[in-house]
């Protein structure tokens, strides 16, 4: 069978999103019947990289392609993929996810999943030195992002979610990826944004109070509050959608301009970084 091999970079993190977007677009755009993801060089996998890779594999499978992968050479990365549930999701007969105290397994969900929320809260409650407010904040971020992915992405593949706590860094990362309609495409259905060409501007607008595509009822509060609460707790919200990438950091907003010839991210990825230690 004719195949294409996609060699993934050393780091599957949100910082490496341009490279990862290019690789995923190559996999999705390839005319070959089989796509092989080569993870042998991969040394670090963050929730963003894992959810993006998973969404790409599912999109390839849905498009009738067969997918395979070379596992990472690094033993830590290899066991991470098993423990987080990647093998269980994509490998027939793959090992079941191990419920660790620092991670919440990779899942492909549709709609709001109370059991996943409970799992995450259990991890948070068991090990993290969060205040009750911070715990509720994690809960809020998850519910809002699940609601958004369900309401706006219009994807029959659902969304991928995964969470990881880094005890030494004192951070918790949550990532959501769907390969449905991106934020810019959805916002351009509104008359006021129809002619806006810059996807970064549209992503920023999506986080503003009251901006929504819902016609029957008011909306547009979810991302606004996630952004506001994260800023107040010195966290970061990064949104990657189509040709835009915007990182809402505590004191500044970083926009990554799309360069000519670069591929488009096929959907929306949302990465949240929360500080789990008291910040001064």
């Amino acid at each position: 069978m004719a195949s294409v091999t996609i060699t993934l970079p050393k780091l599957l993190t949100v910082g490496w999103s341009p490279r990862l977007t290019r690789d995923c677009a190559s996999a999705l755009g390839s005319s070959e019947r089989q796509v092989i993801f080569d993870l042998r060089r991969v040394e670090w996998i963050a929730p963003f990289g894992l959810t993006t890779l998973s969404a790409t594999i599912l999109a390839c499978l849905e498009a009738g392609k067969s997918c395979a992968w070379y596992p990472p050479a690094d033993p830590g990365c290899r066991s991470y993929l098993t423990e987080i549930g990647f093998d269980e999701l994509f490998l027939p007969g793959g090992d079941a996810a191990l419920h660790k105290s620092t991670s919440v397994e990779l899942r492909n969900l549709n709609g709001i999943a109370p059991s996943y929320l409970e799992n995450l809260i259990a991890v948070v409650d068991a090990r993290l030195s969060l205040t009750a407010d911070q715990r509720d904040q994690v809960f809020m971020h998850l519910i809002e992002l699940m609601q958004n992915a369900t309401d706006h992405a219009h994807s029959n593949m659902g969304y991928f979610v995964c969470a990881q706590w880094y005890p030494t860094k004192g951070t918790l990362r949550l990532s959501f990826v769907d390969v449905g309609l991106g934020i810019p495409t959805v916002l351009r259905t509104l008359p006021q944004f129809k002619t806006e060409k810059d996807d970064c501007v549209l992503i920023e607008r999506a986080t503003e109070e009251g901006v929504t595509t819902r016609k029957e009822r008011p909306g547009g509060m979810g991302l606004t509050f996630i952004r506001q609460y994260l800023r107040d707790s010195k966290g970061t919200l990064t949104i990657l959608s189509e040709k835009g990438k915007v990182s809402f950091q505590p004191k500044k907003i970083v926009r990554r301009k799309h360069r000519r010839g670069e591929p488009t991210f096929p959907g929306t990825a949302i990465d949240i970084l929360m500080r789990t230690r008291a910040t001064e």
């Binding site: 709001i112 109370p114 009750a132 407010d133 509720d136 904040q137 809960f139 809020m140 519910i143 809002e144 609601q147 309401d151 109070e209 009251g210 009822r217 008011p218 909306g219 509060m221 979810g222 606004t224 509050f225 996630i226 506001q228």
Partner: protein, 129 residues
């Protein structure tokens, strides 16, 4: 004597569901209760909500059409966690601000029309002076 209705969020929505659709159900109940009563007690029964969509749909959107202080005097929120109470306050403040902004935009006078003149005509009129 104030005639007060009572709605128990836990009884209506259960403990594990706090979606926007659940919020819409509460919204309908609150609106219906306020038509027949002076005020309504919304008892959260210590259920964790932590959902902007739910709280906005249930109560927040009412602040778009009702004065905030009047709304607060009519809806008595009880047995709610501290995070949820703060979140609800933030949502109500945000919606009230949005309502004020919409009202001020609607009431603003249109900008004064400025009639354009051809550059040549302007030059000529300056030259005459």
């Amino acid at each position: 004597m104030i005639d007060k209705a009572y709605i128990n969020v836990k009884a209506v929505c259960g403990t594990g569901k706090v979606t926007r659709d659940d919020g819409a159900v509460i919204n309908q109940l609150v609106r219906a209760a306020l038509e027949t009563h002076d005020s309504v007690e919304l008892d959260f029964d210590h259920v964790r909500i932590a959902s902007v969509s739910f709280l906005d749909e249930a109560i927040g959107v009412i602040a778009l059409e009702t004065d905030l202080s009047e709304l607060k005097s009519k809806i008595d929120v009880t047995n709610i966690g501290s995070f949820d109470r703060r979140l609800l306050e933030d949502i109500l403040t945000s919606r009230a601000r949005q309502a004020r902004r919409t009202a001020s935009e609607g009431g603003r006078l249109p900008p004064r029309v400025r009639v354009a003149t051809a550059p040549r005509a302007r030059k000529r009129s300056r030259a005459r002076k």
